[in-house]
Amino acid sequence: MQRIGVFICHCGTNIAATVDVERVTEAVKKEPYVVFAQNYQYMCSENGQQLIKTAIRENKLTGVVVCSCSPRMHEATFRKTAEEAGLNPYLVEIANIREQCSWIHKDIEEATEKAIVLARTAIAKLTLNKPLIAGETGVTKRALIIGGGIAGIQAALDIADAGYEVDIVEKRPTIGGRMAQLDKTFPTLDCAACILTPKMVDCAQNEKINMFTYSEIEEVKGFVGNFKVKIRKKARYVDEKKCTGCGVCMANCPSKKGLNEFNMDLNNRPAIYIPFAQAIPNVAVIDPEQCLKLKTGKCGLCQMKCGAGAIDYTQKDEIVEREYGAIVVATGFRPIKLDNFNEYGYADNKDVITSLELERLMNAAGPTKGTLLRPSDLTHPKVITFIQCVGSRDVSGCGKPYCSKICCMYTAKHAMLIREKYPDTEVHVFYIDVRTPGKNYDEFYRRAVEQYNVDYIKGMVGKVYNENGKLMVQGSNLLDNEQITIPSDLVVLATAIEPDPSVRDIATKLTISIDTNNFLTEAHAKLKPVECATAGVFLAGVCQGPKDVPETVSQASAAASKVIGLLAKDKLKGNPCVSHCDENTCIGCSQCEQVCPYGAITYEEKEFRIGGGKTEKRRVACVNPAVCQGCGACTVTCPSGAMDIHGFSFEQINKEIEAICKR
């Protein structure tokens, strides 16, 4: 005989304000097998949990239903509570009466009724719950980091520091990412290279860190603790081990018309190149689209000149298979394309540039060697106009609906740096709002206004057009209720940022959730900001949402600490809610094998008794519980109904439906 206890949480007033908890308590007492029901202010609190434990012991409960917040929130908590009181943790069911009831309904009558139905449904399901014991799997003590920007670098260093092996997979020929392209960083104005390159060098020198640059993720299989990843090492046509990074090849390459990605295409680079001086690894790479030897077979100059004999035109892509216990995704961002914003004249005017391009124009290693010269005629711009929110906060479909977060601060930085270096320059900034939350951020922006005399104009630019070589920036000055036109020499667009497009593919391969803006979805917006819903995968940097450098570094370190916590375990408890096969019913038809995404199902010829002392050999499906993840695809495909899944069994769901539909 089952003895079920039901615990109804008030969640302060979150539930109790809209759900009559007393009525729910009384109602559930009438349900079959319920011998105990109680409501309490905060079930998840120490006292609340104690209350559950005491009730389990005193009433000899065989199952527990907690009517509270979403099971995604506290299912684990209450399972642990039950376990501590000696009850199998899988004899706990949660009725979600907060997120799916009290928070969305206003009418007390309606919400209470619904809460009772939800409680009844959970009780009905619980009557069929079986004690489950989670299996254990080992943990591969190595982490994979996808993306070698500041987020990936920081995470790698932290994990390596804890003594675990780390692999960084970076699709570009060098690590460093976007931060390597920056000139200075806010709010302290120290140079990006000065703080980033030592970290890059640390990565290269750390024996725990292994870098796969110019590489991409080919395939991901497995699960938390036991990921099996195929990495495609793209052909570099240069032997990484032999190349000394001397640069002779670059000087001799006759095909010099390649666009320099590192300098935002503002100047050219040869077909064989090292992206920038401090690149890690400091190894050349050949652009196969541009190399004469690879395209036409005629040239081979670099091979002849290379003293180290590192050039190898026959190199092929190579697939490396590695195993990992945890994965950090840090794929970063790019500025959006400005095709939808003709009004700013980006495509037509060389002197309308993006902020990241300005970053390169001001950098000592950039195309102008750090002197701010406008691209069209290489003269010093005297009037510079910045336009903020280009493509951000745009719900018209042209841009991105979100705030890109970093633009206000870097625009202030640019304005300040220009006024500092070239005091005779006039700087205007069109803004909608200036958003500067962050330590010393608003002070930084105010310095731009107060100390550097940057002209901030509240309003937006409607059009930029070229008139006799001057860029006419026409916009509104809302505070003065005026329409103004500023003849400028250079226009800088604070372009919105978006997740690097490669993230979609990564998300699919890792089966992690992605939102409509292509940002990866964290497990919980507040409490699990670096975890993914997929266990063992963590997020760092802009792939999860717009972030500046300090925030990215914090998140990377947070992700690293999560990884370390995971890798420190010797065994991971598996999910016991997996498929199993009723061998007496199974006919071995092989349908389930076809739909299993994990290859967890195999077939065996087994001997079965068929009565009369006889046996018969039959082909039946066998599920490997360590590999099965419990999706349930097999259960529906199985024509005989032999396949079922623990925790979400056929009978349980049927019972839930019956309980919900009971009028």
């Binding site: 906060r393 018209s396 309003g459 937006m460 409607g462 059009k463 509104s476 209720n481 329409q483």
Partner: protein
């Protein structure tokens, strides 16, 4: 006082949600008739959001607006200032009541060579 009916009417005719405005001023930044207008495009949106009906109805700018739809085209929030202006214009025109002419009297007096402003803006508005 604020006449709720009229405001609702303007909102309805404009078919735009002025609450979506984030006060960036891009509409006024591009408006070719800006200097001629006593109330600027962004102010139309703002006044409607605040329910300042008098200001809207007494505006002379409604007759200056060219219905070029540049503000609609540019608005990053999908608000359509020109539609608001048109709605006000329309409302004002309707309020003139007795001064107006009945629909039946229109055909003979329409100058064939000159398209009527409201008609033209309607075409623009629904061109998509």
């Amino acid at each position: 006082m604020v006449n709720k009916n009229e405001l609702e009417n303007i909102n309805r005719i404009s078919g735009t949600d002025v609450k979506k405005c984030m006060k960036c001023g891009k509409c006024s930044g591009r408006c070719p008739a800006f200097t001629e207008m006593d109330i600027k495009p962004h102010q139309f949106v703002s006044y409607l959001a605040q329910g300042k009906l008098d200001k809207l109805l007494n505006s002379k700018a409604i007759w200056n607006c060219l219905s070029c739809m540049a503000c609609v085209e540019r608005c990053p929030r999908g608000v359509a200032p020109a539609n608001v202006i048109e709605a006000v214009r329309d409302t004002v025109a309707r309020m003139q009541g007795k001064d107006g002419i009945s629909a039946n009297d229109i055909p003979p007096i329409v100058e064939e060579l000159l398209p009527q402003q409201l008609l033209v803006s309607a075409f623009r508005k629904y061109k998509k």
